[in-house]
């Protein structure tokens, strides 16, 4: 075999495996973090560290979410992290589309569960790319002309502006806004499925699960993980889609202006403080 063919072969292998890997690290890991963060809009009320007087469950959720967003926005080299993520998603997407085009679904004749998942993996991939692009373009890159109602997302008003973007206006649902919310619902569902199923599939690709029982057991675990993430994804979308803009705005303003008191043992703050201490000391 010629050198050239060898290197072609190695490149093919490397790309294929990097495609598989990139879906898990960093994209999949980011997806988990992102969903956990965003879903605080639904369960952030549990956060007892937000002990602002007069805050109800939803206020605490909004505050928690805002706090998480602020934390992320204050991360050092955020842009680098973002670019890494975008490249990984881009890499995974472009190769994924190329690979997916090489197959030809046949669920019409062979309606086996595995085959349906295979077809869904590809459909959710295509759809997911479209969704992620919309999501990032409208909320991160500020392409407000794509947002019904034209609201621009602001990290200082994370909940309210996102809710407005989902609902189509700052005054609750518009018809188009409802479609956007549905689009989000489908988008996150697709990505969660894509990730969970991809995780199952990757274990075979890498040769981690070989025997049928192993594949089945790992499948159950992936399904469990998928169900958990799906739950987080759904409550996030529902949480923001039903969020009251004015209420969120109020909480966020309070956070900005009066600086809500957080418990001193708050991990994020502690890190920042320690850092300063070191420099000073």
């Amino acid at each position: 075999m010629s050198e050239n063919a060898d290197s072609m072969q190695n490149r093919h292998f490397l790309l294929r495996r990097l495609h598989s890997l990139s879906g898990i690290v960093p994209v999949g890991v980011f997806l988990i973090v992102h969903l956990v963060t965003n879903s605080t809009i639904a369960w952030g009320g549990l956060n007892s560290r937000v002990d602002q007087e007069g805050f109800g469950w939803f206020d605490r959720s909004i505050a928690t979410f805002q706090h998480e967003v602020s934390f992320i926005n204050n991360m050092p080299l955020l842009l680098l992290i973002e670019i890494t993520l975008w490249s990984a998603i881009g890499f995974h997407s472009i190769l994924g589309v190329y690979y997916a085009m090489s197959g030809k679904g046949n669920t019409g004749s062979y309606k086996y569960g595995g085959n349906l998942r295979y077809a869904l993996q590809r459909t959710t991939g295509y759809f997911g790319i479209f969704f992620i692009f919309y999501h990032v373009a409208t909320l991160r890159w500020g392409w407000t002309w794509l947002v019904p109602g034209g609201v621009e997302w602001s990290h200082e008003h994370a909940s309210s502006t996102f809710a407005a973007a989902l609902q189509g206006s700052t005054d609750g649902f518009t018809a188009v806004g409802f479609l956007v919310a549905c689009f989000y619902f489908l988008g996150v569902s697709a990505l969660v499925f894509h990730f969970a199923n991809g995780l199952w599939s990757a274990a075979i690709t890498w040769g981690i699960t070989v025997s049928r029982p192993a594949q089945k057991r790992w499948g159950i675990m992936c399904a469990g993980l998928g169900a958990g993430l799906m739950f987080l994804a759904w409550v996030s979308v529902i949480g923001f889609a039903t969020l009251d803009y004015d209420q969120a705005r109020e909480v966020e303003d309070q956070l900005l202006g009066e600086s809500i008191h957080m418990n001193v043992d708050d991990a994020h703050d502690a890190v920042t403080l320690t850092g300063h201490d070191d420099i000073d000391g």
Binding site: F13, R17, S109, N115, S201, W206, G207
Partner: protein, 283 residues
């Protein structure tokens, strides 16, 4: 009944059909015909009296002796590939009621139990048609060469017994060795697509059949000697990584070969092979 229910359900349905098969019935066979490469395809229907134990082969035999369509038009006997008729040679594979299987083991009672029921026969879609139901599966054998599907013995002269093998290992290898190269796994695979250009075969998806055979030879003491070469072939374009894990292969395999386990095992070998190559710095 939709023919695309889950496999086990399908088996139950066939069993139930067999019990209620009507004696002395006639069944309509809709057959996709084509006079040769590049020729147009057409459907022809035949009404065939069903005798006890009839299968697709006996029905095609009946047509061969009475080549007249339901419309009463005289036509030519249907051309199809067959050999053993015991579901062990793999020749008579075709697409029956939308799904691939051997036609010899396809009993009419299981698919068309009532008078006037319709059965459709089509050639496999992933291989070029030679004529009617007969397709050219040369690519399938070519893929065996691609993965060096043999044990590299020194020669045929007497050199004593082969390597000793445990009972468990033999049972494992035997399960893989029953593959008759029929191509069902390839026909049902969404990643394996038709490729008529022979020069593309070595870079197109190799399919479960050859992957499983590669594993079969990797598992033999002497066969192992070619493992690196097999893994080279399977790591490249069209190799193991092109599998999309739809797992139709294992569902349609008439011999119940654990094809998806072979895919996992070869995936593992490919991973190890790559790590080994990376650290040995050979390439």
């Amino acid at each position: 009944m939709s023919e695309a229910e889950a496999y086990s359900y399908d088996a139950d349905m066939r069993k139930a059909n067999r019990k209620q098969a009507v004696e002395g019935r006639s069944v309509i066979f809709k057959i996709k015909r084509c006079d040769g490469p590049g020729k147009s395809t057409r459907w022809e229907s035949f009404k065939i009296p069903i005798e006890t134990g009839a299968n697709v082969i006996s029905s095609l035999n009946w047509i061969a002796a009475n080549p007249v369509t339901v419309e009463g038009t005289k036509t030519t006997p249907v051309v199809w590939d067959s050999s053993c008729l015991e579901e062990v040679c793999g020749a008579c594979t075709m697409v029956i009621n939308g799904r691939v299987r051997q036609s010899c083991s396809c009993l009419i009672d299981e698919y068309a139990p009532k008078d006037g029921d319709v059965m459709t026969l089509e050639p496999m879609s992933k291989f070029p048609v030679i004529r009617d139901l007969w397709v050219d599966r040369q690519r399938l054998f070519s893929n065996l060469t691609r993965v060096k599907g043999w044990v590299p013995i020194d020669g045929t002269y007497n050199m004593g017994a082969g390597p000793k093998e445990s009972h468990e290992q033999q049972q494992m290898r035997y399960a893989l060795s029953e593959c008759m190269s029929c191509g069902c796994c390839l026909e049902a695979c969404p990643q394996f697509t038709k490729e008529e250009d022979e020069s593309q075969w070595d870079s197109s998806f190799v399919g479960a059949h050859a992957i499983s055979q590669a594993r079969y030879f990797n598992e033999h003491e002497t066969g192992k000697q070619l493992k690196d070469e097999r893994m080279d072939a399977l790591s490249g374009a069209g190799g193991i990584n092109d599998c999309g894990n739809a797992q139709n292969c294992v569902k349609v395999c008439p011999k119940g070969i654990p094809l998806t386990e072979s895919i996992g095992a070869i995936g593992r070998s490919a991973t190890m092979h790559a790590i080994k190559q990376f650290f040995q710095g050979k390439k």
